[in-house]
């Protein structure tokens, strides 16, 4: 979470720039505010298990971010954390299954599917690639985000642009890739590119 917060902090201006091309220029600053709050609450009351870290972080994002990214990222982390349960330690397989549940919850909440030019275009391939390694997942997420460039946005504010959303990388998919890179970094496998 700390690595994710640092990464979001570092890339906030880029996320906001991507968002100003097709949205309303606040994706970076909103996530920055949310993840700063996550780090603060985790430091104040460190949860005992990985599952609790994620549910606490998710709840904090819902309470601070606003916009669409608050509920969507909040749901991703909360559902993943709930799926992990009370275990003190989790295996890579357990994490992958839990993330799958989290990503499915995001798809349901947003009513979207891969190919709509949303965060799912990064999250979905990343969870699949997690079977190989954290690093592979991070790279799949980056590729997934880049693959939104030629897509027409069908959800969120970018969808108002219609065909003119083509040619822009989705900010949500980009921030999702940042999170998977932070995960790979934390696992000691290096970030994607």
């Amino acid at each position: 979470m700390t690595a994710a917060a640092a990464s979001v902090d570092r890339e906030a201006a880029r996320l906001t720039d991507l968002d100003s091309a097709i949205g309303d220029a606040d994706h970076g600053s909103n996530l920055q505010r949310g993840f700063a709050a996550v780090v603060k609450v985790l430091e104040a009351e460190p949860p005992g298990t990985p599952g609790a870290v994620l549910t606490t972080a998710g709840r904090q994002l819902i309470s601070t971010v606003g916009g669409a990214s608050g509920p969507l990222y909040g749901t991703l982390l909360r559902r993943t954390g709930k799926q992990l349960g009370d275990a003190d330690r989790v295996t890579a397989d357990e994490l992958r299954a839990a993330l799958r549940a989290g990503v499915d919850a995001v798809a349901q909440l947003g009513g979207s599917a891969p190919g709509d030019a949303t965060m799912l275009d990064a999250l979905d391939p990343a969870v699949e690639a997690l079977a190989t390694s954290f690093r592979a997942a991070a790279e799949a997420a980056v590729q997934g985000a880049e693959a939104t460039v030629p897509l027409q946005a069908r959800k969120g504010r970018a969808s108002y642009l219609g065909e003119r959303s083509i040619g822009h990388q989705d900010p949500g998919a980009t921030s999702s890739a940042l999170l998977f890179s932070a995960l790979a970094e934390t696992a000691g496998e290096g970030a994607a590119r």
């Binding site: 906001t16 100003s20 949205g23 309303d24 220029a25 606040d26 600053s29 909103n30 505010r33 819902i62 309470s63 601070t64 971010v65 606003g66 916009g67 669409a68 990214s69 608050g70 509920p71 969507l72 909440l109 947003g110 069908r154 959800k155 969120g156 504010r157 969808s159 108002y160 642009l161 219609g162 003119r164």
Partner: protein
């Protein structure tokens, strides 16, 4: 870019402190970002709660008061508020008669209000939700986020607010709100970009000699760009866009709305042209409101909203209202 602010981070908080100082009829919780009418909850009355990103003032805080909204939750600039704010607002105004959430159709607002409705119901508040989607400039399809909510929101809040003030039950207030949504259509035009405090510069480039037709209230691009047009030509374009979608069988309520950076001198002139076009199209206008009501920070431009109003809607529109930004009959 020069702005009359302290810091981009404190813009909303500072504005809320100012609202508290200027309007003693309101209770402004600056820390939790909730504005509630001072006499809430009003016994036996359905509570009306709205909210959304800041930057559209006077929407929504300016519409809190007798005959309109009971509470609002402002988010960060152009960003939906969070569920915690909405739940706080709902519990503050619920008298036991239930609460109506008036939500503009943006993904973030819809998701956060949906979560808030579940949380509020856990706390024993009965919640109904109406989603406003009046903007004809964007396509309405199952595969997109659908139409944006813009100027029609004001009609929904005023008319549903009047019904609630009369003591109508929740399902009736929600039903009227939905009728207003179905009867309202809008179209917006930008002559310049807006400036968000976080970005500190224009959100998009609009060359001096061009205008953007069909713009959204967050500066989202519209249908097309054209070389600058006269007020009369813009009125022809905007009214035709609305009437292509809405074929009123009743006289209409008309909102000629400024986006924040256009003076009333220009808005009234534009309003005259809108009246001319509606006359040419045989659409009678029952009431007209001209001014800055649903703004987009400092954007120059305007929008036109029509709501076809049967006698009941017209009566509720005329009912007394006492809020910072809308006030008549009392």
């Amino acid at each position: 870019m020069k702005m009359l602010i302290n810091t981009p981070e404190s813009v909303v908080t500072d504005a809320l402190r100012g609202m508290a100082a200027a309007h003693p009829d309101l209770v402004v919780d600056v820390e939790n970002r909730v504005i509630v009418r001072r006499d809430a909850p009003v016994s036996g009355k359905v509570g009306l709660v709205s909210g959304g990103g800041s930057g559209h003032e006077p929407l929504h805080g300016g519409f809190v008061g007798a005959g309109m909204l009971d509470a609002v939750c402002p988010g960060a600039v152009f960003t939906s508020p969070v569920p915690d704010q909405m739940v706080r607002a709902a519990t503050a105004v619920d008298s036991g008669a239930g609460v109506l959430f008036v939500v503009k159709n943006y993904t973030g607002d819809v998701l956060n209000f949906r979560m808030a409705a579940e949380l509020a119901e856990d706390e024993g508040v009965q919640v109904a939700t109406v989603v406003v989607d009046d903007d004809v400039a964007v396509t309405d399809s199952l595969h997109t986020a659908g139409r944006r909510g813009t100027g029609g929101t004001l009609f929904v809040e005023k008319i549903a607010g009047a019904a609630a003030a009369e003591g109508a039950p929740l399902d009736r207030v929600a039903g009227l709100a939905r009728q207003v949504v179905e009867s309202s259509r809008s179209f917006g035009v930008a002559l310049s970009s807006c400036t968000t405090p976080a970005k500190g510069g224009p959100m998009f480039d609009l060359p001096a000699g061009e205008l953007e037709l069909g713009v959204g209230i967050h500066g989202e691009p519209g249908r097309e760009r054209r070389p600058m047009m006269t007020a009369g030509e813009i009125a022809d374009y905007a009214v035709d866009a609305v009437l292509t979608d809405l074929r009123p069988r009743h006289p209409v309520l008309l909102l000629v709305n400024g986006m924040g950076g256009t003076p009333l001198l220009e808005l009234y002139g534009f309003g005259a042209e809108v009246h001319r076009v509606l006359g040419e199209r045989d659409v009678p206008v029952a009431r007209t409101l001209v001014g800055n009501y649903v703004t987009s920070l400092d954007m120059a431009g305007c929008s036109v909203t029509l709501c076809q109003a049967d006698e009941e809607l017209l009566r509720l529109w005329d009912a007394p209202v006492r809020t910072p930004a809308l006030r008549w009959g009392c």
